[in-house]
């Protein structure tokens, strides 16, 4: 890693080409959480509905045999101001054709009064930093990198080799290294990953994997295998395999899907298959989905046997009308049998969700988007309406005004809440190098609860972003979204 870091540090000076993106974001949030409190059983009073209340009006829970009754009162007001500066760079032209260095790092801090915001600890996080040697039949990477597959995004410090037969469309991948935790750029041993002070591994897991893939005009198919091992005990942390594919036998029609198998636990994981038809004026899709959460074996969670849910999904969109696009989605899902029924509990095992939306673009600079979403499921439901008005008087300038209303029962908590949100945002790109974004949003909640716990969750969020791009070579720096410079530095004429 030190070698890679040193290489990355000196290489911009030696390289013929480089691109660097500096991106600074800051957000200001004020919010009030909840705080667990208790009173002696003897202090509880009987309220008008017959239940137990604290003297100041909070409904309390007095467990049989317990000396105290518990309740949640409003927490103290907290202000967070997460500020993150990201730096992404690519360096090439180091004298060896195909050699390049890539890096992405973040410096984060919570400038608020309570240092409460998640993701700002530790303050320096390295997402990727690797050297790449890229030729047509072989790609080698060394350093911190993220490998994405049907099994998720796996970060590790190590090496990866890809062999390609570009003409026939085949490739094979092998990788090995010290792994990072799921969903973050931190190792599993980081204190930031143990906020609740529970079980945590002592050592980083060793991750190794391989993949075989075929990419062709009619079909793509990929088979992945990955294992993670705890080096201290040689026990498996996880061992999984997955298959992913997309078949396009008929123009406009695609069948995509895949499946995961947890070899360590001997169970099938998530799987899905979707048939999609895309025509110039409309698109249709229908599919089946099965979702089962995956837990590593260093946690206890897997032995609690979480069950999967199965869903049938469908979606349609139509853009054949002038200036108008319509879309709809729907899902009906069923949980597999939990075997948790008791005489006192009836188990809900199914739910549904849908969303409807329309986008009206009367002129190129203006668009109005409205939508409705609803979901009914065990554990949570909601109905929401939202709308957004976007106006782009110039290509470099975009203003957005949006609003939403959400009605929901609080999950497993008494009772309902209605929440309204309004927000405004602006994006300005004064030159190819600079981009500025500003936004503000206000959330206002109304909780329908007959005791003092009906406090609101109101909050205001302000955010700002400044992005600066620079690099070698003349001309366009800010390439179309999703594009980065090539080694030749060539551009569209």
């Amino acid at each position: 890693m030190l070698v890679i870091g040193a290489g990355c540090a000196v290489s911009p000076a030696l390289a013929q080409g480089y691109r660097v993106r500096l991106d600074g974001r800051v957000q200001s949030v004020g919010f009030r959480g909840v705080e667990l409190d208790s009173i002696p059983v003897s202090s509880a009073v009987i309220g008008p509905s017959g239940g137990s209340y604290s003297p100041d009006g909070f409904a309390v829970r007095c467990a049989p045999g317990s000396a105290f009754c518990y309740f949640f009162r409003p927490g103290r007001e907290q202000r967070a101001a997460p500020a993150v500066t990201s730096a992404d760079f690519t360096v090439w032209g180091l004298g060896l054709t195909g050699l390049s260095f890539h890096g992405s790092a973040r410096v984060a801090a919570d400038l608020g009064n309570a240092d409460v915001w998640p993701g700002t600890d530790p303050s320096v996080q390295l997402l990727e930093a690797y050297a790449e040697y890229n030729t047509e039949p072989l790609i080698g990477r060394l350093g911190r990198q993220v490998y994405s597959s049907r099994l998720g995004f796996s970060g590790f410090d190590g090496a990866r080799i890809t062999l390609r037969d570009v003409k026939r469309g085949f490739d094979a991948v092998g990788y090995f290294g010290q792994g990072l935790a799921r969903g973050t750029a931190l190792p599993v041993t980081s204190p930031a990953l143990n906020p609740l002070d529970d079980f945590q591994p002592h050592d980083r897991q060793i991750v190794a994997g391989a993949a075989l893939g075929y990419t062709g005009g009619l079909a793509d198919i990929r088979l992945d295998y990955q294992r993670e091992v705890d080096p201290r005990s040689d026990h498996f942390v996880s061992e999984r395999a997955a298959l992913a594919s997309e078949v396009r036998l008929i123009p406009r029609l695609a069948l995509a899907g895949g499946a995961e198998y947890d070899i360590a636990q001997g169970i099938w994981g998530s799987s899905d298959v979707t048939l999609r038809y895309v025509a110039p004026d409309f698109a249709l899709s229908a599919g089946f989905q099965r979702y089962r959460p995956h837990f590593e074996l260093w946690t206890m969670w897997g032995v609690f046997s979480p069950v999967a849910y199965q869903a049938v999904t469908g979606s349609a969109s139509y853009s054949g009308l002038p200036h108008l696009q319509l879309r709809a989605r729907g899902t009906r899902f069923f949980y597999e049998k939990t075997e948790t029924e008791t005489p006192l509990v009836s188990v809900e095992d199914h739910g549904w969700r849908y969303s409807l939306g329309a986008t009206w673009t009367p002129i190129a600079q203006l668009s109005l988007e409205i939508g409705q979403e609803a979901e009914f499921a065990p554990g949570g439901s909601y109905v929401s309406y939202d709308g957004a008005l976007s106006y782009a008087p110039r290509e470099q300038l975009l203003f957005t005004l949006y609003g939403a209303k959400l009605t929901r029962p609080l999950e497993f908590r008494f009772d309902e809440a209605t929440l309204r949100e309004v927000g405004v945002g602006g994006s300005w790109r004064p030159s190819e190098r600079w981009q500025v974004d500003l936004s503000a949003a206000r959330f206002a909640e109304n909780r329908k609860r007959p005791d003092a716990a009906a406090f609101d969750w109101n909050q205001t969020r302000l955010s700002a972003r400044l992005s600066y791009l620079f690099g070698s070579g003349e001309g366009t720096l800010r390439l179309p979204k999703g594009r980065r410079p090539t080694e030749t530095g060539s551009r569209t004429p």
Binding site: R61, R182, P251, G379
Partner: protein, 478 residues
């Protein structure tokens, strides 16, 4: 009153404009009406003596016209004989043509002017400029003028580059041959006709008569490599004939974006005609191997097809939610156009990000979305560093005290929590730690409740990671 004045004024302006137009129209007509003068002139040579005798002028003098048009007998005319030859791309001169006729047909042979300048049944002095049909008939070509073999063109015509007197306007008015309307002519058809039937000539005279290299470079990126294009002379006037690069029908196919890579690898020669390497780099983040067969943009080449980075057919309105399947099956296809930083912007979001994947206001409904999840939260968020940390700061932790009453919508929630836990354990993990559950679910203490549910394979678990088993079972794992 004012309205009437305005009306009269407008009518006056219109009349003036109309009169001016008529005058201009007259000035542009041929000045001499041959048919009207047919009874005055018994032979062509009386006025056009220079046609056969190079020492004589081709056109009559103004004075000879004034013999009649003196203002008394006939009105004066302001015609003057042209001092320069008219713009033409004919390699023909009357004198040479006359010599050649005599040498081929015999010394006493002659060719009357009407043979070329009058229709066959026309009266005396009903003349026209060159009648190409008459030329073709004499030369033995039965086809129409623009359909004759390319070897015949050069008999009468200079190449465009040689015909320096032609103006852009004249060139723009060249008639279009029927062959140019044939299906596929613009794509591959014209390439098949460009070879000359005359040995030693690199380009057909039929092309060179109307076109020069600049015209070809409008489209052809591979112009320097095309012998036939290089054989044409340079001439910017050739751009007077408008043309534009059009995508072939194959590019409109719904799955073209998916298949173009294989096609390019199999036949980069075709791509090379219209595409520079820059075409590839408009979308591709790394230069594909097939691009190496293409030329870089440069002098003497067409600028090529201007590629716009568009969404493939698969990238529909809900692609944001459904992109995983394609990305998992073919990460290489994604990597062709997308940089990794784009993936990481969402899959490793920054703490100060206001969100790009989730819609505005998603925070308000994230509990429901996390419970009956449509997508996996763990692909982008750490359940401990993100979910648990935020919930902890908001006071939403069990704090190792069960029965605190947070889940107060059901008084019997503790009895039914198994359903919620099995249906969505990932939501529970947002606030609860493992020890909360082990309070009751452990073989070594608590209430000895068995946590294992459907599908639990104890033997396999013991084999793969017995350490987990020891937390509840100690050393005596069953």
């Amino acid at each position: 009153m004012k309205r009437a004045q305005r009306l009269v004024g407008a009518v006056g302006i219109l009349l003036l404009a109309g009169s001016a137009g008529q005058l201009l129209g007259r000035r542009t007509r041929d000045g001499f009406d041959h048919a009207k003068h047919s009874k005055l002139f018994p032979s062509c040579q009386s006025c056009h003596a220079g046609i056969r005798d190079a020492s004589q002028p081709i056109f009559p003098s103004t004075a000879s016209c004034a013999e009649c048009h003196d203002g008394q007998v006939e009105k004066r005319v302001d015609w003057e004989a042209p001092v320069t030859p008219p713009p033409t791309n004919l390699r023909f001169t009357h004198a040479r043509h006359d010599t050649q006729v005599r040498s081929r047909l015999g010394a006493d042979s002659t060719l009357a002017c009407v043979a070329c300048h009058s229709e066959k049944a026309a009266g005396w002095m009903e003349v026209k400029r060159t009648l190409s049909r008459q030329c073709l008939d004499c030369h033995g070509h039965a086809e129409t003028h623009l359909a004759v073999a390319d070897s015949a063109c050069a008999s009468c015509h200079l190449t465009l580059a040689q015909a320096s007197t032609l103006t852009r306007e004249t060139i723009a008015g060249f008639p279009e041959p029927e062959s140019h309307q044939a299906p596929g002519f613009a794509l591959s058809g014209h390439g098949r006709q460009v070879s000359s039937t005359i040995p030693g000539q690199a380009v057909a005279a039929s092309c060179a008569t109307c076109h020069a290299r600049d015209f070809c470079i409008t489209c052809h990126v591979d112009a320097p490599e095309q012998r036939s294009i290089q054989a044409l002379g340079e001439d910017p006037r050739s751009l007077a004939i408008a043309t534009e690069l059009k995508a072939p029908p194959s590019h409109a196919a719904a799955n073209f974006l998916n298949r173009h890579g294989a096609q390019a690898r199999g036949g980069a020669q075709e791509c090379r005609t219209c595409h520079t390497r820059e075409s590839c780099s408009t979308c591709h983040t790394q230069e594909p191997a097939a691009a190496r067969g293409l030329a870089m943009a440069g002098a003497g080449r067409g600028k090529g097809a201007e590629v716009t980075r568009g969404r493939p057919a698969s990238h529909g309105t809900d692609f944001r939610d459904s992109h995983a399947a394609l990305a998992q099956a073919s990460p290489r296809s994604c990597a062709a156009c997308h940089a990794r930083t784009e993936c990481l912007d969402c899959h490793r979001p920054t703490a100060a990000s206001t969100g790009s994947y989730h819609p505005a206001g998603f925070l308000t409904r994230h509990p429901v979305a996390a419970y009956a999840r449509e997508t996996s939260c763990a692909d982008c968020h750490s359940s401990t560093a993100f979910c648990a940390a935020c919930h902890q700061q908001s006071g939403l932790t069990a704090q190792k005290l069960l029965g605190s009453g947070y889940h107060d919508s059901k008084q019997s929630f503790a009895f039914g929590h198994g359903q919620a836990a099995r249906q969505n354990l990932e939501s529970c993990v947002g606030c609860h730690v493992e020890r909360d559950c082990l309070t009751c679910h452990s073989a070594r203490g608590g209430r000895n409740f068995n946590p294992h549910g459907p599908g639990f394979d104890a033997d396999r678990m013991k084999r793969k990671n017995s350490e987990t088993c020891t937390v509840c079972h100690g050393a005596s794992i069953p």
